[in-house]
Amino acid sequence: MQFIQPDINIDFIGKRHIGFYVSTALILISLLSLLLHGGPKYGIDFAGGTLIQIKFNVPTTVDTIKDSLKPIGITGASIQQYGDASNNEYLVRADIAYKKLEGLSDKVQQALVQAVSNISDIETPPASETLETSESATPTPTTQTVSQEIADEQPEQATLPAEVRRIEMVGPQVGKDLREKALLAMFFALLFITVYISGRFEFKWGISAIMASGLMGGVYLIKSMGISMPFLIVFALILAMVLFWCLRLQYAMGAITALIHDVTITVGIFSIFDKEFTLPIIAALLTIIGYSLNDTIIVFDRIRENSRKLTRDTFDIVINKSINETLSRTILTSLTTLIVVLTLFLFGGGIIHDFAFAMIIGVLIGTYSSIFVASPILLLWKLQK
């Protein structure tokens, strides 16, 4: 069986301006969406906050939950249904705005459990009343505890009408730390990869290693001066690309451009769909970097092999031939990877859902970019001559 005929010869390089327009448009849309949304939408991992996933055994509504949270002073929490409506499962998310995050999850939990126990048991008064704490002093310190209470405690706990399935609380400082770490991780991954590519494809281990360590040192130095990380990383990446250009590290330039392209568009699409950035999404982005590079390297490898063999052809013909020769493999691998990421997306459950979504975008964009972005960039130098 064969999807792609062996003698296929699509003029990818001749049509590279189409790719250029498509990529530019996608990047502009991504940037525009990021701009309109005021930057990426951070999940609690990066923004800080509290998230509680709670499953009720009795039907309840978003409004009931909202009402039950009012007495404890949480009015701005976002409440979302999680999964099927019949599951009665909800995500409650409170922002960092609540200064006292610590213990907040306990309070929310208590309030919610209380709220539904009232629904299931009509005898007891509404939630708001029982939750009030009376500040007024009771004259005598209690010494007359009733013995039955202790016995009552256990069964009550066991038949709670709601189950807290997940609590995540991230303090503002931790959120900031994680944000910086994530950015640095992406940046370092890109740098290491370019060193490897320059070394393997152009035998310029030295130059690229010196350049990368210089950039790394610079980032750490400027970071210690307290300049905001995102700008720093963007600046460092632009600087890296200028250096690649000047040092004629064309393969590294092609690869890193494709990677930045992929990550930007994936981030942009996330922003368009209003999805949150969490730690697993960063993992997905790094995997996309690895995956897209995988594709790019296989094409580059063929280009390197063919430019030794086909010395008579011009470089653009060599590139085009290489892309066509590897096309079958590119499509096949993307297909198998896509199959598994799709199953993950469809059957993997809520926690992994967005991760799989990012991977789907990444696989598609990564495949496209190794053909239409990475390879044509190699031509920039040759055309100059």
Binding site: M1, P6, S147, R166, E168, A283, L346, F347, I351
Partner: protein, 524 residues
Amino acid sequence: MKNISPRTIIILLVLFGSLLYVLPSIHIDVWPHKKINLGLDLQGGMHLVLEVEAEKAVESTIERMGHDLRREMKTNHIKFADLKRIAFQLHLKVLGNESIDKFNQVLDDEFQEFRIASRKQNGDQLSIILDLPDSDVAEIKKKAAEQALETIRNRIDEFGVSEPDIRRQGERRILVQLPGVKDPRRAKDLIGKTALLEFKLVDDQHSVEEALKGKAPLGTEILYQVVENRQTRRKSKTPYLVEKRTTLTGEYLTDARVNIDSQYNEPYVSIKFNKKGARLFERITESNVQRRLAIVLDNKIHSAPVIQERISGGEARITGSFTHEEAHDLAIVLRAGALPAPVHILEERTVGPSLGKDSIRKGLASMIIGGILVIFFMIIYYKVAGLIADIALALNILLIAAGLAGFQATLTLPGIAGIILTIGMAVDANVLIFERIREELRIGKSPLAAVDAGYNKATLTILDANVTTLIAAVVLFQFGTGPIKGFAVTLSLGVIASLFTALIVSRQIFDSLLINRQLRSLSI
């Protein structure tokens, strides 16, 4: 198979080794090795990052030294005023030349650890600010973090959580991981409680009402007793006017146990002092009969019983309306000792056991579905060669599992995603080789020669492509925490395993088919 090549032996050894590591996960008890660890997100549990407020430890050290200085000055009849602690400094004024001389003497003889931050003499009045050298402050902070870690570890050990993971993270953060903990809130209370036990005398001479209006007499403070009525869930706060001076603290405790009051059938905590503590306690009770002694835990009054008579023997009881659990936990924290400084929670991630089970189920389901789809796809597209790739794929998953067990790595939900991703990407190496073989076959080579050429040409490409994925995975491992690390681990294992299975195992199968079985044509 007549001649067994070294490659076959390696493959068989790897296969046997990985079976040895994986089987315990499936069938426990019989096998020598440990099984695959499940992450907190899969088995349920709690992940906490705590910060030790180490400044508080410095403050209390300086406060204590201030008390010592005050006492020393009093015994030496030195006139002084305005002795107070501001942040990490002690401010005071010494009055009169004679006092200043004596003060200098005391400072040189008894308080050499103080650093003089500033010293201004104005006539016969000396204003002096004392603090501690930076190295001492750093030492106190470091000790506080270490001691907090130790205390928390003791508490958790007594609480009884299987395989807890407690470690320092950075200078003053503590990471606590409690797998499978059933009552997260209780565990949090237990870990986070400072558990500073103090005994303070209640001031009965002055009225609490006056003090509440802001006219608390010198040397006294207002502390509250908070009681929650469990039936109405109402909390009530009772103010007490107590002397600021602490007569006795929990540092003299040797033991704390839960007992049941036979009269009310109510649990209480009985505590036992060491010799020094017992003597102190005896002296306090002796000289304050008929007064009330407040038992204060973390600035909250638990009870304030009236001292009926001198108590010798160094035993006391802490009552209050405890549940069994509360009394049990209080005994634990008292036995383990107080934290040298308060801690607060910076990060918390708790996963209930049912969600973990759900995640495992869904993860496995998508793994099986994805795997089957890929396996069928490969057979349809490459026929027999596809089957070889599928065998390699199966071995690949076995190797990842063995790697997880062998390195005692933790399998997390993103880790399962990593395995699933590897299923998709692992066939890539085989696809690369097969496409090459097809190319070689098309230019008319014999199956054997085509396989040989295909492998030779594809090997370098496969290495290059996989090393870059490995770089991304290693960076991820460096940066990631918990679940993300798990992803990096399975991804790296997957990459390495797929190199082995594609370059060595599937090659061996091809060779044995073509050479040993003398196949003339290749179904690819």
